[in-house]
Structure formats: C-alpha cells, structure tokens
C-alpha cells in the first residue's frame, strides 16, 4: 500500500552526483538532473513547487552528511 502526491525519482548516479561535495556541474540541483534526464518529478507538483526551497534543501542534506 503506497499513496503519494508527488515523487522525485532519480537514477543512482543522479543521487550520487547530487550528494557529492562539491557536486559536479550539471549534477548539483534537481532541475539540472531533470534537464539531463537523470531525474523525474512526478504526480501533483503543487506541494513540491509551493515548498520548493525547503524540499530542495532537505534533498541535498546528505551532501554535508546531514550536518546542516
């Protein structure tokens, strides 16, 4: 059973790239990754977009070992 509103899906390479410190150019942001076809944003995007910076910050926390 799984219910969801939106999903951020990426390849293993996408998450690895996003979480490198520093990340390589073109692998440093979820929209950079969707543009290069390594990530997709799916479902009802309103809650994602309306809280975008917060969610982007959470998704990149592993870059600093979650320390920030």
């Amino acid at each position: 059973m799984c219910s969801w509103d939106f999903a951020v899906r990426g390849s293993a390479a996408a998450w690895d790239g996003l979480w490198k410190d520093p990340p390589a150019p073109g692998w440093h942001d979820i929209f950079a990754l969707t543009k290069r076809g390594e990530m997709t944003l799916e479902g009802n995007l309103h809650p994602l977009i309306a809280n975008l910076q917060y969610l982007k910050d959470i998704l990149t926390l592993p870059r600093k070992g979650g320390a920030q």
């Binding site: 410190d21 440093h28 942001d29 979820i30 929209f31 995007l45 977009i49 982007k56």
Partner: protein, 291 residues
C-alpha cells in the same frame, strides 16, 4: 565591518521615453572613464552589479552604470501598467537600453548583460553593434532549452517571490559564498508579481536568435561571452555553440560560477572580467592614439 562606510555608488532617477511611454528609471553608477552599461537578469535589478561598482580596479578606468528596467527594482512601470499583463519583448528591451543610454548621454558605451541581458547583448551585436565600444554577454546564448514550466511563477496558490528564488537557487554554484547566494535570491524574492515570468516571455518565446545573428562584426565591436560552468540554464555548451556561429567571439567558461557571476561570487567573477575589461581598455587607448 569596521566603522561606517559610505560606498562610492550614487543612485539617481531619470525620465526616459520608451516606445512612446514616459518611464521613470532608477540607475546607479560609480567610477570614471569608459562607460560600462550593465544589464541585470530577469526578475532582478541593478543591485547585482554593486560589487563591480565598488571595485577600484574597475572604477578607476570605467564609469560603471546600471539601470533597473521599467517594472524592476526602483523603476516604476509606466502609467496604466495594471491594465495589461507584463511581457518583455525584444523590441521593448532594445528600445529601453538605447533610450536610457541616449538619455544619460553615453558615448558608445561598453554594454554587459547577464542572462536575458546576455541574450539581448547578442541582439545588440547583430542590429546595433556600431553604437557600442564592445559587448559582453554573461550567461549568453542564442537559445537554450526550457527546464521548467513558467506557469508556476505567477499564480494565487504559490508565493511568487519564493518560487522564483527557489527555482533559480539551483543556478548558483555550490562554491559561491552563502552571503552572496542569499543576497542574489533576495533580489528574486522582491520582484513584482509576474515580472520574472514576463521577462521569460522574452527569453523563451520572443528571442530565439538561432540562425539570426548574421552580420556581427566582432572586429569592429569586440564580443566577449563568459559563462559559468554551473549554469545549467544557459550552459557552457549553449554559449560555445552560439560563439561558433559568430567569427571573432572570445569565449570564457568560468570555474566555480553559476548563472549570476557578478552577484553570486564577486571575487571569482573578477578573475575573469578584469582581463576582459583590460583588453577593452587597451583597445580603446590604441584607437584614441590613432585618431
């Protein structure tokens, strides 16, 4: 910071007629010498050039001058703006730059623009090159692939300022100092409702310059294109592809910089822009000596 510091930047207003409309334009300037007219990015304002205006290496040779486009920063929209949706067009953008330059009395300035300002630099090179001493496009290309739906930028159930800033935050290089990253984002948070979206009408719909940049004489009016490696909106590949179509263009890919070089990482940007400005200054001196 030690003590009180008054910066050398001076801000004033000027009344300019643009496409038959009276516009009250805010501009800032610092320095003396070769006029360097700076064009801000979409949905932002002339504060992006504050570091350049406080850099004595620049201002000892250049009169750095940056204006807020109408609808931006401290420039009001023209009277009656509330009756229609704001959409920047190539015609309006070129008219605004030329009208402001003439009103201030700039003599063949160097123009430098970033993002939409970089795109319009290419159009200026194509159609009005003889009016400029040199042209500098930052994050400039003849076209780039869209990477999000601009409908999100102006709707009642999403905060416009926050979403504009959140979208462009990824265009800032991870190495850029936190202070300047957030200062750059603040500019986007303060933009008027729908203005970033209206600027992107120019960027995405009205200014596809692919195949339309013939006749640029980079020998008569040098053209420099500088793009940050972390800019995935206008990528280095986009800039290099554009430069390939314009003989004589000088291209630089800037390390550890994104889409807002002058604003997001001033010390990194100056490593790249000072040699360009020095090139322009030397060329200017040679031309004066030959007169």
């Amino acid at each position: 910071m030690n003590g009180n510091v008054i910066e050398p930047i001076v801000g004033r207003y000027i009344r300019v007629s643009i496409l038959g409309e009276d516009c009250r334009i805010y501009f800032e300037e610092a320095g003396e010498g070769i006029p360097l007219l700076c064009l801000h990015t979409a949905g932002a304002d002339n504060r992006q050039f504050r570091h350049l205006m406080c850099d004595e290496e620049v201002t000892k040779e250049f009169r750095v001058i940056a204006f807020d486009l109408p609808w931006h920063g401290k420039s009001y929209p023209p009277v009656g703006w509330e009756k229609s949706e704001y959409k920047l067009t190539t015609e309006r953008y070129v008219a605004s730059i030329r009208a402001f330059s003439a009103a201030v009395g700039l003599d063949r300035p160097v123009a430098m623009g970033c993002s939409i300002g970089g795109r319009i630099i290419l159009q200026l090179a194509h159609a009005h090159g003889s009016e400029f001493r040199a042209l500098i496009g930052l994050e400039a290309a003849d076209f780039q692939q869209p990477w999000y739906d601009t409908a999100w930028l102006h709707r009642s159930d999403v905060h416009g300022g926050e979403v504009c800033a959140a979208l462009v935050s990824g265009l800032i290089a991870p190495q850029s100092p936190e202070e300047y990253r957030h200062e750059t984002l603040w500019q986007y948070m303060q933009s008027g409702p729908g203005i970033f979206k209206g600027d992107l009408y120019f960027y995405r719909v009205d200014s596809d310059l692919r195949g339309k940049l013939d006749g640029i004489d980079a020998a008569a009016c040098p053209l420099y294109l500088l793009t940050g490696e972390y800019d995935f909106s206008c990528s280095a590949a986009d800039t290099l592809r554009t430069a390939d179509t314009i003989p004589g263009t000088k291209v630089t890919v800037m390390k550890e910089v994104g889409h807002f070089p002058m604003s997001e990482n001033p010390s990194q940007f100056r490593k790249y822009i000072l040699p360009v400005l020095d090139d322009i200054r030397q060329r200017n001196s040679l031309m004066l000596a030959h007169k």
